[in-house]
């Protein structure tokens, strides 16, 4: 557990003296900055190039998703969740649908479960590919971006064929799937798995043993397992710190307990380990997809769900392992067609909080690397 006093807030009233006098420079990064992955504003307090402290200013993309939810029916709100983490829209939808299903006390039929797992894992890969490309770009390697986007395109094509949308898919419905899979879905997925496996080796070839990459990422943005837990960090960032915890295994949802996969972990909790963990997650996702795609059962894709969704009075918290970490939905129902309150527990938001701890004492260039390695999506941070 970190000493909370070490997380003292920045005194932004420091007058902007000249450098020789103050030895300190307050620099504003963002909200329009190429490396902050959106409209994140980071106020850095520097001593030379060393970061003495920083403060994140967020909210530039705040759309009041939770307020909107209170004014929409359960079904109407479903597409909105796609707009939070727009890189992993399928995962968002899965979390939301499962939470409402739990509240309704229904379960999606097996066929739907399998397709859900396949699409979610594909989406996890797409999200990780986007992360890898932009992260490498931030560190200065421009080529991986194009490689990952080329391959991510194949995933988006599958999404497009399945539901017509590429990014904000709205793929699932409460109680099952929005659409039956198209003809050749299994074949497409299998082709993709065979196609992408050597490509992942290709990414690794460019980066994993690259000396400059090692120097830029090893020992950068270190966070210990204890600190990570205290800061509520989840997902690959937590696992890279050596905590073997994945909601898919710890509190299984969907039908993840039917699949055989490992939880990759790191040791040092630095940027390089987080990179390795995510690269390993690519392969685990492929494993899950391979197992799932061969055994998609026949049957209905929708459970028996009333036309008008009216969950009984009560509240539920349900969370899934999104590509970024624990994505939780806390839903309070008052028995009407509209949720009384929906709270989204966004992984990016909580992970971003660790930025200060990870960056303190590092250099400016490392802040860029750490923002990249946290894999934040501002749509989700600000909601």
């Amino acid at each position: 557990m970190t000493d909370p006093t070490s997380l003292s807030p920045l005194d932004l009233e420091t007058p902007d003296k000249t450098f020789l006098d103050a030895n300190e420079l307050v620099i504003n990064m963002g909200p329009q900055h190429p490396a902050t992955h959106g409209v994140l504003r980071v106020i850095l307090r520097l001593d030379g190039e060393k970061v003495m402290g920083l403060e994140c200013v967020i909210g530039y993309l705040h759309r009041g998703v939770e307020k909107i939810a209170e004014n929409r029916t359960y079904t109407m709100f479903n597409p909105y969740v796609d707009r939070m983490d727009y890189v992993a829209a399928v995962s968002n939808g899965l979390g939301y649908c499962e939470a409402v299903e739990k509240l309704l006390n229904v379960e999606a039929p097996p066929r739907a479960q399998y397709v859900r797992v396949i699409l979610t894992e594909l989406n996890r890969m797409a999200s990780h590919q986007l992360w890898l490309g932009t992260h490498a770009l931030d560190i200065g390697a421009i080529t991986p971006l194009f490689y990952t986007f080329r391959d991510r395109e194949e995933i988006l094509k599958i999404f497009e064929k399945y539901c017509g949308a590429r990014l904000t898919t709205h793929a699932f419905r409460i109680g099952g799937l929005q659409y039956e899979t198209y003809d050749g879905f299994e074949k497409d997925v299998k082709t993709f798995v065979a196609f992408v496996r050597p490509k992942i080796d290709e990414y690794e070839e460019l980066l994993t043993t690259n000396r400059i990459w090692l120097e830029r990422t090893k020992g950068v943005g270190k966070i210990s397992g204890k600190d990570a837990i205290a800061l509520g960090v989840t997902g690959p960032v937590l696992r890279a710190s050596g905590v073997k915890w994945d909601i898919r295994k710890a509190l299984p949802y969907a039908n993840y307990k039917n699949f055989d996969f490992d939880i990759p972990t790191g040791e040092n909790g630095d940027t390089y380990d987080r990179y390795l963990v995510r690269m390993a997650e690519f392969r685990q996702s492929l494993r899950i997809i391979e197992q799932a795609v061969d055994h998609i059962p026949e049957g209905s894709i929708m459970a028996k769900v009333p036309k008008v969704i009216k969950p009984p009075v009560g509240e539920i918290y349900h969370s899934i392992e999104a590509p970024k970490g624990e994505l939780g939905y806390f839903i309070v129902s008052d028995g009407s067609t509209q949720p009384y309150r929906i709270r989204v527990r966004p992984p990016s938001f909580v992970n971003l909080q660790a930025l200060e701890v990870m960056c303190r004492g590092q250099l400016v260039a490392d802040v860029i690397a750490v923002i990249g390695t946290l894999d934040i999506v501002l749509g989700e941070v600000d909601r």
Binding site: H33, G140, F146, R216, I368
Partner: protein
């Protein structure tokens, strides 16, 4: 009038550079030629970089303006010249205005001594290499003042970074250069030279490119220089001053339009300049490959055909791509343009077969080909490497390259003097 013609013609028989012969007419012609060639090279480099980088990254690059985007750099140049020239309100207008010119001036002036051939240089100073290093280091001044005059945090940090980087790497660079100068003194009179032409002639006299001299010492020196020159020109993986993800665009963040394009021009001509130093010092300058092994006259003929063949191959590539162009009315202009370009290249190739032209151009061709190899390396680095962090960059410069350079210098001196040393030692032993 007759005297003037005589004055012009008198140079043609001389075996000196125009500057060395003191011929103002030809010196002016050479200056114009070099700077025109340089501008063309920068424009071509712009297109090539975008194209090659694109192909490394599984995309096409510019394809719209002209066939295969050949006219893209020209369109870019027009765009840049027509853009509004913004001077920030809080900037120091005078310094802001001067800074890009300092950089361009420094980058262009060094070409005064670059030897494209034994007589193909504007002038030959007997401190040639010193002049090149000195003048190219002046561009730091322009960068620092540009960053300061912008009166903004990011450019200032970028400028401080880049000047610290350039000053640091100059040291290692200088050591590598000195080791070559030691090598030039290995002749009967043990007279070394700083002259760019003299260095190449020393390689010719010793029948060896200096990269292979005292293997692996020459190679190490070349390696040090090859690393330092990338850092010196602020290119990937040492492009920290312009680290897009950290400092947006470094010292030229606040510049736009024409002034920005001056920085661009200076960066690319500086790349060409340092590459020419490397070529001159280690790769035998204008000498053709294997000057010592394949010496018979037939080989001279074979190697002198290379320029023509290269241009014919380029022309053939153009024709091949013309044939592959989509047969659609919309592509008509582009197809004709590409074919025309191929015809021009082919004609140049044919002209290069003429013996009179062939012999004069041969040196320039080999020099340019070697420099072009370095240019390709620059692009390749950019496509492959992540960026160093600032402290790591300094570590590489001061803790790796500098000691290596010092050791190299001492070793080169020892190896160069080994017979004399041996004799001396034997004398001491006998006594």
């Amino acid at each position: 009038m007759h005297a003037l013609m005589q004055y012009i013609q008198s140079y043609l028989d001389s075996d000196k550079t125009p500057g060395g012969a003191g011929n103002i007419f030809w010196a002016t012609v050479y200056i114009l030629l070099v700077f025109a060639g340089l501008s063309v090279a920068v424009i071509a480099m712009n297109w090539l970089e975008r194209k090659i980088l694109a192909h490394m990254q599984v995309r096409l690059g510019p394809m719209r303006v002209g066939p295969h985007g050949l006219l893209q750099p020209i369109a870019d140049a027009i765009k840049l010249l027509l853009k509004e020239d913004i001077i920030p309100a809080e900037a120091d207008a005078v310094v802001f205005w001067i800074a890009p010119f300092i950089v361009v001036l420094a980058a262009f002036t060094v070409f005064v001594v670059v030897p494209f051939g034994p007589t193909h240089a504007i002038t030959d100073m007997n401190i040639g290499i010193l002049f090149m290093l000195g003048v190219s280091s002046l561009s730091v001044l322009g960068i620092v003042t540009a960053g300061w005059a912008s009166n903004s945090h990011y450019p200032l940090i970028g400028a401080l970074r880049s000047s610290a980087q350039m000053v640091s790497y100059e040291v290692a660079m200088g050591l590598a250069v000195v080791s070559v100068i030691l090598m030039t003194s290995l002749n009967d009179q043990s007279t070394g030279t700083l002259s760019m032409i003299g260095i190449v002639q020393a390689q010719l006299a010793q029948q060896e490119w200096f990269i292979f001299k005292f293997f692996p010492l020459g190679l190490i020196g070349f390696g040090i220089f090859a690393i330092a020159m990338v850092a010196e020109t602020n290119r990937a993986p040492f492009d920290l001053p312009e680290a897009e993800s950290e400092l947006t665009a470094g010292f030229h963040t606040e510049y736009s339009g024409f002034r920005w394009s001056l920085f661009f021009l200076a960066e690319y001509s500086a790349m060409i300049a340092v590459s020419s130093i490397a070529v001159t010092l280690w790769l035998g300058g204008w000498l053709r490959p294997f000057p010592n092994l394949l010496v018979a006259p037939p080989w001279d003929l074979v190697f002198s055909l290379f320029p023509a063949i290269t241009f014919l191959l380029l022309a053939a590539m153009c024709f091949y791509n013309t044939a592959r162009m989509p047969k659609h009315p919309l592509f008509k202009v582009q197809t004709i343009g590409l074919a025309g370009f191929g015809v021009v290249l082919g004609l140049i190739g044919l002209i290069l077969f003429l013996p009179a032209v062939r012999l004069r151009v041969n040196d320039i061709f080999w020099f340019s080909a070697k420099v072009a190899g370095f240019m390709y390396l620059y692009i390749w680095y950019r496509g492959t490497f992540p960026r160093y962090r600032f402290d790591q960059l300094m570590k590489v410069g001061w803790k790796v390259l500098l000691p290596t350079g010092l050791a190299l210098l001492v070793l080169t001196a020892f190896v160069g003097m080994r017979t004399e040393l041996w004799a001396e030692l034997q004398g001491v032993w006998r006594r």
